[in-house]
């Protein structure tokens, strides 16, 4: 990752140890994941032990240490979505993409994430691709949703 960008982020957070979560969030916003060398660099610059950084980076689910796909499919597995059949939607997404939840397809096109609740319970079950919400999703609709993003990327 661009060192200058990292420096700017560190600067914005005034090199505070307590801001490590915010710093990593900002890095991930740019890079889509947390590259190892960036974390090592941050550890050096902040003089914060790498074990602490690794602990935080693996504790919080928002962080990923491996690159993610171009499109992230978030299957909401909150209670309302679960009752409305979220597990079946997840099964269907996994079957269609031949990967499991929290994994990325070999072509780096899609990553599947499960999320606990997006607060859109009235629209359950919800599937979110990147920023687009799909409400009242049934397993039969999954293929159509995914193919839209596949063809969009080809364009």
């Amino acid at each position: 990752m661009d060192i200058e960008k990292v420096d700017r982020i560190l600067e914005e957070h005034e090199y505070r140890h307590s801001a490590i979560i915010g710093i990593m969030q900002d890095v991930q916003d740019i890079e889509n994941y947390l590259p190892e060398e960036t974390l090592r660099y941050i550890s050096d610059k902040l003089e914060l032990n790498l074990t602490k950084i690794f602990d935080v980076a693996t504790f919080y689910k928002a962080f990923s240490l491996v690159p993610r796909g171009r499109h992230t499919i978030k299957v909401c597995c909150g209670t309302a979505c679960h009752l409305a059949g979220a597990a079946r939607n997840l099964d269907q997404v996994e079957r269609t993409l031949h990967i499991k939840a929290e994994e990325t397809t070999d072509d780096r096109m899609f990553s599947i994430e499960t999320v606990n609740c997006l607060g859109a319970c009235a629209l359950a079950p919800v599937v979110v691709v990147d920023e687009d919400y799909y409400d009242a999703v049934k397993p039969g609709k999954i293929e159509k949703i995914l193919s839209y993003y596949r063809s969009e990327s080809e364009r």
Binding site: Y60, A62, G78, A80, A84, D91, Q92, G119, L123
Partner: protein
């Protein structure tokens, strides 16, 4: 934006905002909260703006981008003033009609009105809604009415006058006493009396104290905090400033989960505006009192909703709860006395200060005062956010407000309190809702999620769902919680997969009581609630799973089969076409059948069949 230097300034500014308002203007209140945005309300906004431009009516019509109206499922929602015409399911293509028909000619478009699914009656205005009749909007009053990104709108609606009153006429101990007397209890789950917490913290030794608003709404199925932060952020900020003044804090934090980007955005804007107006920062309203607020984004950890874990997360570490005592009011953030309250708790404060403790304590039950926002979701007909007086019965909430269970199915249970809560059956449905009655029923108030379940919900699966949820959301530090959850999950999974055996229920109960007594924090201590409450009220379902190997709800895949009712099937072939495993066979216009050996129970056919000919056996 004008700087507000004194308390009388505030009143003058309010006056001038109200005077500047063009009463001739038609105001369209369009919801741009997460729920409506998910249903493309931004596109509706765009289409409306184009139409307004087309007619050259920019000075005559104003689109006010509001927060949640509570009726999320029917989104996008809009209300057209002054007649308060309520439109739902608005699509961008209707924008032209809305402007030309309703705004210019005053005609109501019937197809955009809400139709009662039972009586087929059309509802024209907001207040005619049957859903709203039993509600009492207090905290949620402004949401859906004001533009949350405009501080002027909040001030015009009477905002910050509680702060003015508190700073001008009350001493910190008087404020604390008012909150104590009001009987307000924490809205985040535990229900600890807010005023007592403030009193302990204000008496704790130390010059530096902190205020934290907990907006890490992690309970799946609850979204009132999100809507509140999106729809009325200044109310939370005002409550925090008053709390800070009362306990002597100069720094505040709002911890918001990152899954709520709009809430983060709106609160950031609100904080910036309050700073520019001089309502945050140094010498607030000329009183010499200083207070600033910083936003911390969560990073995806349910356990950070626990107060000690949340503080540790703000300190930049993994959110692992620590044992209490010491309580945060003595030793909180960075070891300093800290008041940590839920965002909804803070949003109650301005009302209490303005209208007084007596007014507030006159609402609700003897032990639980005020109103509470619930998110009513699941298999209920009208889903969304509701605000009711404490003591309202579950029956009123689910049947009168929620319109009962969907598709004529039978009510089975309502789950309250998220993963720490429990499932309440029909036998308890006339119970008035407050902190204590819920606890007595084996559930908790929690943050206020209410998930209605019907006969298609399997209670063993619900228990397994929550334990599975916690398995990965527990911090993993203490053995009772980490290893206990693992064993519970193992037993429940076995039961759901048809491998349950005699003694499993007793083992679950033993583990549950052990975890409750020995876990380090509240997460582990309440984690067994979903298991215990489902065993308590739905033991027959557990027995059916274990002994008969049957899941009558059609959820546990190994314990049921899909069959086609030959009498109902008209051979439309839809199911056959859509079956991914080609497990369905049959000729056109003749009853079809499912090959159980090929069926993977994905449920596609079950959902597709319009004649409901596919059954669970």
């Amino acid at each position: 934006m004008q700087k507000i230097r004194t308390i009388s300034d505030l009143e003058d500014i309010r006056e001038s905002i109200l005077q500047d308002k063009d009463s001739e203007k038609t105001i369209i209140r369009l919801c741009l909260s997460t729920g409506c945005r998910a249903q493309k309300s931004l596109k509706v906004n765009e289409a409306l703006e184009n139409e307004i431009k087309k007619y050259g009516l920019q000075n005559k019509i104003e689109i006010k981008k509001t927060g949640c109206h509570g009726f999320c499922e029917m989104g996008p929602i809009m209300v057209i003033e002054p007649a308060n015409i309520f439109y739902c399911n608005v699509k961008p293509k209707y924008a032209g009609d809305i402007i030309s028909e309703t705004v210019l000619n005053g005609n109501v478009i019937n197809r955009l009105l809400w139709k009662d699914p039972l009586t087929k009656e059309l509802t024209k205005t907001e207040k005619d809604f049957p859903v709203y009749r039993k509600q009492r909007k207090n905290v949620f009053y402004n949401s859906g009415k004001i533009d949350p990104t405009d501080i002027d709108d909040y001030i015009a609606a009477g905002g910050y006058s509680a702060l003015g009153k508190a700073l001008a006429t009350m001493t910190p101990p008087e404020i604390v006493k008012t909150v104590v007397d009001s009987g307000l209890r924490g809205r985040g789950g535990g229900g600890f009396p807010t005023g007592i917490k403030w009193r302990i913290c204000s008496a704790a030794p130390g010059d530096i104290k902190y205020i934290i608003a907990n907006g890490d709404e992690g309970d799946p199925g609850a979204f009132m905090d999100r809507s509140l932060m999106e729809g009325d952020p200044h109310a939370i900020i005002e409550g925090m400033i008053i709390a800070a003044f009362a306990i002597g804090a100069n720094q505040g934090f709002i911890y918001i989960r990152k899954e709520y980007p709009i809430a983060i955005d709106h609160l950031s804007i609100a904080i910036k505006q309050a700073e520019e107006c001089g309502l945050l920062g140094n010498d607030i309203l000329g009183t010499g009192f200083n207070f600033t607020i910083k936003i911390d984004r969560g990073a995806g950890a349910f356990v950070c909703g626990e107060e000690t874990a949340l503080m540790i997360s703000i300190e930049g570490r993994s959110g692992i709860p620590r044992s209490r005592p010491p309580y945060p009011a003595f030793e909180g953030l960075w070891g300093k006395p800290t008041v940590i309250n839920n965002v909804e708790t803070f949003a109650n404060i301005p009302k209490i200060i303005l209208k007084g403790a007596d007014w507030y304590s006159s609402i609700g039950t003897s032990t639980s005062k005020g109103t509470k926002i619930f998110s009513l979701v699941g298999k209920v007909r009208n889903t969304g956010l509701i605000e009711v007086e404490m003591g309202t019965t579950l029956r009123e909430i689910i049947f009168d407000i929620g319109g009962g269970v969907r598709k004529g199915k039978r009510f089975k249970a309502v789950q309250t309190g998220g993963p720490s809560g429990g499932c309440i059956p029909i036998s308890r449905i006339d119970m008035p809702i407050d902190y204590d009655s819920l606890k007595d029923a084996g559930a908790i108030m929690g943050s206020g999620g209410m998930i209605v379940m019907d006969e298609t919900s399997c209670m063993v699966d619900v228990a397994r769902y929550f334990i599975n949820f916690l398995l990965f959301e527990s911090c993993g530090k203490c053995i009772p919680c980490r290893e206990g959850l693992k064993q519970m999950h193992h037993i429940l999974t076995n039961i759901c997969e048809g491998l349950g055996e005699k003694g499993d229920i007793e083992r679950l109960e033993e583990l549950a009581h052990f975890m409750m007594a020995t876990s380090l924090c509240g997460l582990g201590g309440t984690a067994p609630n979903p298991v215990l409450s489902t065993i308590r009220y739905f033991r027959d379902e557990y027995d059916a799973h274990i002994y008969d190997k049957k899941c009558s709800a059609g959820v546990c895949k190994n314990l049921f089969e899909y069959v086609i009712d030959a009498e109902l099937c008209n051979g439309c072939t839809i199911c056959k076409l859509k079956c991914p495993e080609k497990a369905i066979s049959g000729e056109k216009k003749k009853p079809h059948s499912i090959n159980p050996l090929l069926c993977i129970k994905c449920g596609i056919c079950f959902n597709l069949c319009k004649r409901e000919a596919i059954r669970v056996k």
